[in-house]
Amino acid sequence: MILRTLSLAVIALTLGGCRGWLVEEPQSFFTPDDFPTTEADLKIALGGIDDWYTGGQSQAYFHRGWPMITEVPSDQTVAQSASDSRYAQDSYTLNASNEWLWRVWRQIYGAINQANVLIARIPQMDQVSQSVRDRYLGAVKFHRAFNHFNAVRVWGSVPLMMRPTAEFATATQITRAPTAEIYDSIARDLADAATLLPLRWPDSSTPDDGRPTRGAATAMLADVYLNMSGAIVQQNHWAEAAAAAKAVIDSKAYTLVPNFADLWLIKNKNGPEHIYSIQFGGLKRNLFTSQSRPSGIGVESGINYWYSTPDFMATFSDSDARKKTTFLTQVTVGTTTYRYDTLPGFFGDKRPRFPKPMPYYGKFYDANGSIANNNGRTDLNWPIYRYADVLLMFAEAENEANGPTPDAYGAINQVRARAKLAPLAGLSQDQFRDSVHRERSWELAFESKRLFDLKRWGSFYAVLSQDPVAKIGLQPFMVFLPIPQREIDLDPGLGQNTGW
């Protein structure tokens, strides 16, 4: 008996004394203490940031959410619906509870936080060589800048998050930073990224493979300077914008694809003209192809969320080689040919509110055969920057800084030559400026550029108040969308944009 009680006591003491027995050691996931440690870890952490762009609920960012708040409200695109959250964006009748506001905001700040975590972690990673660390540091700084840039263009003054979130108690005290300060921070991040990043990643066969590169950082920097020089921030960085764009041109890493139509085929993605695109493939395929497809073309039908306008199509000259590719006016499926404006097989949406049939998007039509597979999704990438965009940015910035110089003409005429349009010559600065503006609207149609262009040119209200759908609810203060209501409810210190 004594032996028995003794042995029980021993067991009790040993196990009781083993306090370490209750400490949790994860068996199947990483904690920030042990991840990332190697270069391979960094690769998957960077891939995880891409997941913020392509994943999320309801295809929140670069499938659906981003065009929803940046393309649909423009004068180039119209939402098919007349009564839901899409329509609210299109007609400027939305309020701060509109779902697309918080969906995009959530992805943006999720990506920023992950970038911040890596920015803090990378300098401590001793096992990784300096050159690799530099590359990845450049990449995550690019991502931090990219997302802040997206946020500041949509909402104006937004929270500037430069450190990873470590606790939640002070969440209710975070405030928004002034727009100029945000832009300065973005420009610094991009300048750093441009120094640290290579022109092309060592294991990559194309300059654009979805990872940030020097070209991407510099192209974005040019875009940032253009925005800072526009009607919103009202500083003068035209020369710096021109210099950045020129740096991309001089790097000779990119060329224009001779045939505009080829640019938009899945088999040609990540081609010589692409500088930075959001990658889709494997288990992550995009929905935007489906969204801008008509629903009346048999097995090739899409979900018909939005389309363009005949008025916009009419601004294209008939000799413009881009017109046929930019708009979908005719489709042959099997033995049937559908046309957007005539019977039989009429597919252009026509409603009492639109007197003329609406043409659809041609740019994202390619489905590598048929859209009927895979639930209407394709592998097409979403282009963020193309070489044509850089040429036009250079032309615009150079014009503003130095007037229409031969370099400026050279740039814009390259784009026009590809579009089989006559080159420009002998224009005044104002005329050149208008030409660049027009050229941008034709070259970069439906790529979520138009709305931001209008904002920075100061013609946001003037142009959109002529748009039959936008003018329904449009008011001048709507150049910035409202901060999502949920954020203000949880952090009253944010405050709301004027007017909303």
Partner: protein
């Protein structure tokens, strides 16, 4: 009145004999044999006691007992054993006399059992200070249920047993006194033969001797951090009596409880063609009579159910052995669903010498089943079978002219329901084993040391294959293989000391220490893109894309426990318990927590003044208890920061599947949810316990609720789990039981009713939060569940439906976006002349206010009839299934009610106009009253007379006929009001979204003893 036969042998003869045979003093003795009333077999281990004294004896293997040293006098003798009604008699003992008193005990269920299991021990029911209800095996033996806990429905006050999904092999929702937690699992802790956290669905129901349900803090605090939701203690059978061999079986048929009235082919064609906006590519003939496919008849069937059980049981000397083997097979009423289960058990108790006992409890169960797809939405997934069986157009035959399964009326993402059944495989194979070895040693009289070691292993393998011909796999063919394993080690060491100090004081002390470790593993593989369906999930390599993943977690619990039971004069009882639990799941700063409880009880019926005052009272005990218990039902590793790996991304042309995203940051203060419960109870017995009443009132508040507090997205996260929030449950329970017997006719009536109300007291500063109860295929139906401070859990939130717009002027003036004449009209609740989110309000609640059960049994000679009626009152259900079936003229089938659609000549106020869909969001139109009363069980039993049985060589034969769920009275319009498509959650309870229908079952059974 119980019939007992008392045999008094001539006093004089005994007196003479006793003079030499018994002790030299003048006290007498009482002896006799205890037998079971129905079978006549001797019953062992019956406690026979002289009431009011400490004189007691236990019957042996032959049912014989002897109580010696009985002073002369008149006594009340009582024989008690778990599973039998107590036997009472009055005897007179003369000096030196040996009185004979035999007992014939009636097996019975709910009653004041002498001994109940209370967690780490047993206690006499008379001495209990906490709230415990018991249900014994024999009462539920004839219930054809596929899982043991299902048979508890309606039998325990305060316990809600809800079949949320009637598919064979599905989960069950059990709540004791309401749910406490917002995010954790609110199911009670199940302890089977001391194994904590065992799975009751994988145990052979016929192996169970008793269920003891511990409800209040005094009873559950001994389980510390896992006792907050109540505890169900399950004790399996031990070998008893001389060795015997029993075979029992039942066989029966189940049918769907209802047929929903939908349009036939002619009606459907008529409305479809009348609809001006119908898709012109489909033309239906409205002139000739079309043949109707009744899809419900196609997919539902009358399904067989059977069970076979062999049991060898017996005890001899110091050994008791029970061996059982069971085979259960249930086909589901929906084609493509079934469950087969086989289980084996080996229970051995062996005494080694006077002081040492060893025992083992080993069981292994294997199940194989198929599941049909239910409870999910339509959209790109092809739809669940239950929904397609109602919605698929009746004009379409099951197979088309080529012999393939017909497609839907219009090209869409809907699959033919028979195609889903035949072309989709979903098989689950489970292996579950529990092995326990324990030893008890009595070093001193009254001191018992016990140690037990148990090992539980569970393996669930789910294999699915969706054919290329189904939309559900996007016409690619998809296979999924998921394997989940769990192994648990549990070591428990306790020491129990029982001391009677003098004649008045009785003290029992318990101290113990336990350690437990659970390892979970998950492995899964998926293949998409098969070239043919031939090999299915058996050859994943055939797929274009194969991905796999694995996962592992471990959790550990260390505990110290102690209990004191003190009784003074058998009348004044005090119990105190304390348990300290340390769990690996909690954050570094809060690894340990302590859960105390205290209870007092007063056995008024043992007070002489009461016996004099109200002699009719045979039992009266008042109880009070208070204590705290905890819940650790949060996921493992919640307090640690984590990276998630597995996000797909692409670099150039290459796709990768191992992207890492940050999912959590550290919370170093995460701790238990604590529930503090107060209970006051009365146990009353009148007329020799012919009428017993048990009543309890309780109040339990749970604080430090684990709650995912919303944070602004700008931090990079949506929420973080922290301990804030409080929920309270308050209620009353009442159980009444009466027995009467006269001239061979025994009648028993019993009933229980309970009332519970939950209330959210605090959400850590938030006023409310929303969830979505409907499925993801109705994207506008978001935020239709509200959890709000001051309100109970399970509230539905939406617009109030006010009928139909009768004119376009009315629609235009309504302020409702999208209002049309003949469309749904919503109520402007706040009167601001527009319909927006401020007009949403609470539409109903899914938690029943009242639960009740009524049991009755009548026994005459060898026949008996027993009935169980149960019900739940005052709750609502959201009928999401109906919401998609009331669009007149739609391209999928609709309910017959659409025939009364609104027109100018038929200004209906309950059905929209042709081609007008109901409002796309939750409105009170879909909220229905779920209250029901159900004839749960009717059983007629016949014990075949022994002489007839002997002719075929059997010792005992019982035949019975039983019906389950034969009638349900309810205003609910769909199959069954108890369903909940979102599983067993308390927050999203009460959503009927294409759930599996309830069934009626009739079985015929026999139990043979050799």
């Amino acid at each position: 009145m119980r019939t007992i036969r008392v045999c008094l042998i001539g006093c004089a003869a005994l007196l003479a004999a006793a003079g030499g045979a018994t002790a030299q003093d003048s006290s007498g003795a009482i002896a006799g044999v205890v037998r079971a009333r129905d079978t006549g077999t001797p019953v062992a281990r019956v406690g026979v006691s002289v009431v009011g004294t400490r004189l007691t004896a236990e019957s042996d293997g032959e049912g014989r007992y002897t109580i010696s040293a009985v002073p002369p006098g008149t006594y009340h003798l009582r024989a008690r054993l778990l599973g039998y009604a107590a036997g009472d008699t009055t005897i007179v003992v003369q000096v030196g006399q040996r009185v004979s008193a035999d007992f014939r005990l009636q097996p019975s269920a709910i009653e004041l059992n002498p001994v109940v299991a209370v967690g780490y021990g047993t206690q006499r029911k008379a001495d209990l200070t906490g709230s415990v209800s018991s249900v014994t095996g024999p009462e539920i033996a004839t219930n054809p249920v596929d899982r043991a806990d299902q048979a508890l429905a309606g039998r325990v006050p305060g316990m809600q047993v809800q079949t949320t999904n009637a598919q064979p092999g599905s989960e069950l929702r059990i709540r004791l006194r309401g749910g406490n937690s917002l995010s954790g699992d609110n199911s009670p802790l199940v302890v089977i033969d001391g194994v904590i956290g065992a799975d009751l669905s994988l145990i052979n129901p016929s192996d169970i001797e008793t269920f003891d349900v511990l409800k209040d803090a005094s009873a559950t605090a001994i389980y510390g951090a896992r006792g907050a939701n109540g505890v169900i203690l399950v004790t399996t059978k031990r070998g008893q009596g001389p060795f015997h061999f029993d075979y029992s079986t039942y066989i029966g048929a189940q049918d769907v409880s209802k047929h929903i009235a939908v349009l036939n082919a002619d009606q459907f064609a008529l409305l479809y063609m009348r609809n001006p906006n119908h898709d012109k590519s489909v033309k239906l003939d409205t002139l000739t009579h079309l043949s109707t496919t009744d899809w419900q008849d196609v997919v539902y069937r009358s399904a067989p159910i059977q069970n076979h059980q062999i049991q060898v049981s017996g005890s001899s000397g110091a050994s008791s052995l029970l061996l059982s083997a069971n085979w259960f097979d249930q086909q589901g009423v929906l084609l493509g669903s079934d469950l087969t289960r086989g289980s084996l058990r080996f229970n051995l108790d062996q005494g080694l010498g006077a002081r040492f006992r060893l025992g083992t409890r080993v069981t292994y169960t294997r199940t194989v089943g198929s599941q049909a797809r239910v409870n999910s939405g339509y959209g790109s997934g092809g739809g669940p079978v239950t929904m397609q069986a109602l919605r698929f157009a009746p004009t379409i035959p099951v197979r088309d002219s080529t012999g393939n399964f017909s497609g839907p009326l219009l090209p869409s993402a809907n699959d033919n329901p028979m195609a889903i059944i035949e072309l989709r495989q979903d098989n689950t194979t489970t292996g579950y084993g529990i092995g326990t070895l324990f030893g008890e040693y009595d070093p001193l009289p009254g001191l018992t040391l016990r140690t037990s070691l148990s090992y539980t292993s569970s393996d669930v393998l789910e294999q699915q294959y969706v054919s290329r011909k189904l939309q559900a796999s996007l016409n690619l063919g998809q296979a999924n293989i998921d394997d989940n394993t769990a192994t648990t080690w549990l070591v428990e060491n306790t020491a129990t000391l029982h001391r009677a100090l003098g004649r008045q004081h009785d003290l029992t002390l318990l101290g113990g220490f336990t350690a437990q470790q659970t390892d979970n593993g998950a492995n899964s593989a998926q293949g998409v893109g098969f070239t043919s369906d031939l090999l299915g999930y058996r050859r994943l390599n055939l797929a274009d894309q194969v991905t796999g993943s694995s996962n592992a977690t471990r959790q550990r619990v260390l505990s110290y426990l102690g209990r004191v039971n003190y009784s003074l004069a058998g009348k004044y009882l005090v119990t105190g318990t304390v348990r300290a639990d340390g769990s690996s799941k909690f954050a570094a700063n809060n690894k340990w927590a302590v859960f105390p409880s205290a209870a007092v009880a007063w056995r008024l019926s043992d007070e002489p003044f009461l016996r004099r005052l109200i002699p009719a009272v045979s039992e009266l005990k008042l109880r009070l208890s208070a204590g705290s218990t905890g819940s650790n039902a949060i996921p493992t590793y919640q307090s640690l920061a984590a990276w998630n790996v597995g996000a797909p991304y692409a670099i150039g042309p290459t796709a990768f599947f191992n992207g890492a995203t940050l999912s959590r940051i550290t919370n170093p203060n995460l701790r238990w949810e604590t529930t503090v419960q107060y209970d006051a109870g009365v146990d009353l017995g009148l007329f020799g316990n012919q009428l017993t009443v048990t009543a309890d009132a309780y109040d339990k508040t749970t604080k430090d609720l684990l709650y995912a507090k919303q944070v602004p997205y700008l931090l990079g996260f949506a929420s973080y789990v922290t301990n804030i929030g409080r929920v309270r449950n308050r209620g009353l329970e009442l159980a009444v039981d009466t027995r009467s017997a006269s001239r061979g006719l025994e009648v028993r009536l019993g009933g229980n009713v309970s009332l519970n109300r939950s209330k959210v007291l605090d959400l850590g500063g938030d006023r409310q939060f929303f969830l979505t109860g409907s499925n993801t295929s109705l994207p506008r139906w978001e935020n239709d569940v509200i959890v709000q401070v001051g309100q109970p859990l399970g509230n539905f939130y939406g617009y109030v439906w006010d009928g139909i717009f009768q004119s376009s002027a009315e629609a235009a003036a309504s302020g409702q976006a999208g209002a049309v004449v003949g469309g749904d009209k919503l109520r402007d609740v706040n009167g601001d002349r527009k319909i927006d989110s401020n007009d949403q309000t609470i539409l109903g609640n899914a938690q029943p206010r009242y639960l009740f059960g009524l049991t009755g049994s009548v026994t005459y000679d060898r026949f008996s009839l027993s009935v169980l009626v149960r019900g739940a009152l005052d709750f609502q259900v959201v009928n999401v299934s109906r919401a998609g079936m009331e669009t007149p003229g739609g391209s999928s089938n609709m309910l017959t009610s659409v025939l009364g659609y609104w027109t100018t000549t038929n200004p209906s106020n309950s059905m929209t106009a042709l081609n007008v869909s109901p409002f796309d969001g939750l409105t009170s139109r879909w909220v229905e009253d779920g209250s029901f009363v159900r004839l749960q069980n009717v059983t007629v039993q016949w014990d075949v007379p022994e002489r007839l049985g002997a002719r075929v060589g059997v010792r005992r034969l019982r035949l019975y006929l039983s019906g389950q769920n034969l009638l349900t009275a309810s205003r609910y319009s769909w199959y069954d009001p108890e369903v909940s498509s979102r599983g067993t959650s308390d927050l999203t309870l009460g959503w009927d979204d294409s759930n599996y229908p309830g069934t009626k079952t009739v079985t015929v059974g026999a139990s043979v003893g050799f």
